[in-house]
């Protein structure tokens, strides 16, 4: 399998000059292979969300090298970012659904952004709604959906454009264990279709549920267990 993401000695510090804080991420190096499934774990504040932000190009690193799809993402011009972002699906921790759009329109948004003709949008959206079990909630606004339903809309939106990488930040943080397992199965089935999946979670119960999944563990901004070095089920950091 080819490498799809490569981090080399990546550091991230928020703020500049006298306002600069301590390094949120320090000397992070790892490689993600195309079509693999990864868990990113670590305690709250370990830097998981910051690392994901670098991965889905919402943030540029302070130092180091990030290679994405074979190109240097650190020096990528602003004009080329949309093209790269369309190849990455993101499930945000807080869902970030557009509040005044229906479930249907939220899920269709990436296709519309990609310029797909309206006539071609209907079928994939209908399929995606069925896939996440929300066929009967197509016209509902996010405010009228439960946490689990919103999470599934967010996942459907992230995957509808068949991204090469799916990044999910604590996707099971707001749902009950049954729903968490169902969501994980959604990721697994997507992974089987060839998408590289990176799921950030601090729920250690989930880690052993995906056979073959690899784990990265962050601790205070440092990657303790580079990809693949740990066997699953992993050891809890505090054990």
């Amino acid at each position: 399998m080819a490498n799809i993401v490569q981090f080399e000695n990546v550091g991230l510090r928020y703020g500049t000059g006298p306002d600069a804080g301590p390094e949120t991420l320090s000397d992070v190096s790892f490689t993600l292979r195309s079509g693999a499934f990864y868990f990113l774990t670590g305690a709250s504040g370990a830097g998981k969300t910051s690392l994901l932000k670098l991965l889905y190009l919402a943030q540029r690193p302070t130092r180091g090298v990030i290679r994405l799809f074979g190109e240097d993402a650190v020096v990528l011009s602003r004009d080329r970012l949309p093209g790269f972002r369309r190849r990455i699906g993101v499930v945000f921790q807080d869902f970030r659904l557009v509040p005044h759009l229906s479930t249907w329109d939220n899920i269709a948004l990436p296709l519309r952004v990609a310029g797909m003709p309206e006539a071609d949008i209907e079928q994939p959206v209908r399929e995606m709604l069925a896939w996440v079990g929300l066929g009967d909630r197509a016209d509902a606004r996010p405010a009228t959906l439960s946490g689990g339903e919103q999470q599934r809309v967010a996942i459907a939106r992230a995957v509808i454009a068949r991204p090469e990488i799916l990044v999910a930040d604590e996707p099971t943080g707001n749902v009950d264990p049954d729903m968490a397992e169902r969501l994980l199965h959604l990721f697994e089935s997507l992974n089987k279709l060839g998408t590289t999946v990176v799921v950030a979670t601090h729920d250690f119960h989930l880690l052993g549920r995906i056979p073959g999944a690899q784990m990265m563990r962050l601790d205070r901004g440092r990657l303790l267990d580079p990809t693949g070095s740990l066997r699953y089920p992993p050891t809890r950091p505090d054990s």
Partner: protein, 298 residues
């Protein structure tokens, strides 16, 4: 395309729309355009009146024969008239009828104005073929040989203050139109910036989904163009009605001077194009503002 698809296809356009119905921006645009069109109508009508006045006065003279003795006055008038009619560059020379002069004097002198012994100067209206200064100067110089009793008045000179006022009004109207256009652009810039702030989260999501800056800007453009169009049509129609009403009232006055303050065909077309120009201006201002602001966001 099915009905459901059609309804959903408008979703992208509604990505930023939260409030339905008429928005504040629509009203602002309507008021701005209403005032701009009134100012533009004033400018166009005054400019038209000034042009008409120019045409009417340019190359027109009145020659006065100021002589107390009626016999000598009439004799001099006849000689001057004959000389004028023989002069090259004089298109027309007509003596002002004595009855007309009496009628003009009547408001000031009453019945005494009709007294034939009243030493009223004889007058000759002259139209020059050439409206330039040189022709008028040549005629005045030629008439000087008839003695000091001959006076030449150029109509332009005594109507020039009126013309100056009209030109000032025209420039004032033009300045108002430009000022209103600038204010409209400023309002759009402020509205676009406020919109960016309001929809920051949605724009963030759009960016993460791979939206380009121009795609995001188009959402704002469409919304502002729609507001500007609705406001422009409303404000423009109201302004056209007011302008038409004032035109009818001015025409009804029967005044020669105010009668010239009317709008021609091209003036009406220019007024009708103003809303279009405002929509284009608002759309461009929104696009430039949004694209510039988005450059500061990754």
């Amino acid at each position: 395309m099915s009905g459901a698809t059609k309804a959903r296809s408008s979703a992208e356009r509604r990505v930023l729309d939260e409030a339905g119905g008429l928005r504040a921006m629509t009203w602002v645009m309507a008021i701005m355009l209403f005032l701009t069109m009134l100012a533009a109508a004033l400018g166009l009508a005054t400019a038209g009146a000034a042009r008409l006045l120019d045409r009417q006065l340019a190359g027109r003279l009145t020659v006065q024969i100021v002589e107390g003795d009626p016999v000598r006055r009439d004799g001099a008038a006849a000689r001057v008239l004959a000389s004028l009619r023989a002069m090259p560059g004089v298109a027309r020379a007509v003596p002002v009828d004595r009855a007309d002069l009496t009628r003009l004097l009547q408001p000031w002198l009453g019945a005494d104005g009709a007294d034939p012994q009243l030493p009223v100067p004889a007058m000759i209206d002259v139209d020059l073929g050439d409206s330039g200064d040189a022709a008028a100067v040549r005629v005045a110089a030629a008439l000087r040989r008839f003695g000091p009793a001959i006076r030449v008045d150029r109509h332009e000179s005594w109507m020039s203050p009126v013309n100056d006022v009209m030109r000032t009004l025209t420039f004032l109207a033009l300045a108002l139109v430009l000022l209103m256009a600038s204010a409209t652009a400023a309002v759009v810039v402020l509205a676009a910036r406020a919109g960016l702030e309001t929809h920051r989260a949605t724009i963030g999501v759009m960016h993460m989904l791979g939206s380009t800056d121009l795609q995001v800007a188009r959402l704002f453009q469409r919304r502002i163009a729609l507001d500007a169009t609705i406001g422009g049509v409303g404000g423009g129609l109201a302004a056209l009605l007011v302008v038409a009403f004032i035109g009818v009232r001015l025409h009804g006055l029967g005044s020669e001077l105010l009668g010239g303050v009317t709008l021609g065909g091209t003036d009406w077309i220019a007024l009708a194009l103003l809303p279009v120009a405002f929509v284009v201006l608002a759309t461009l201002a929104a696009r430039v503002t949004i694209v510039r602001a988005l450059r500061h966001i990754l």
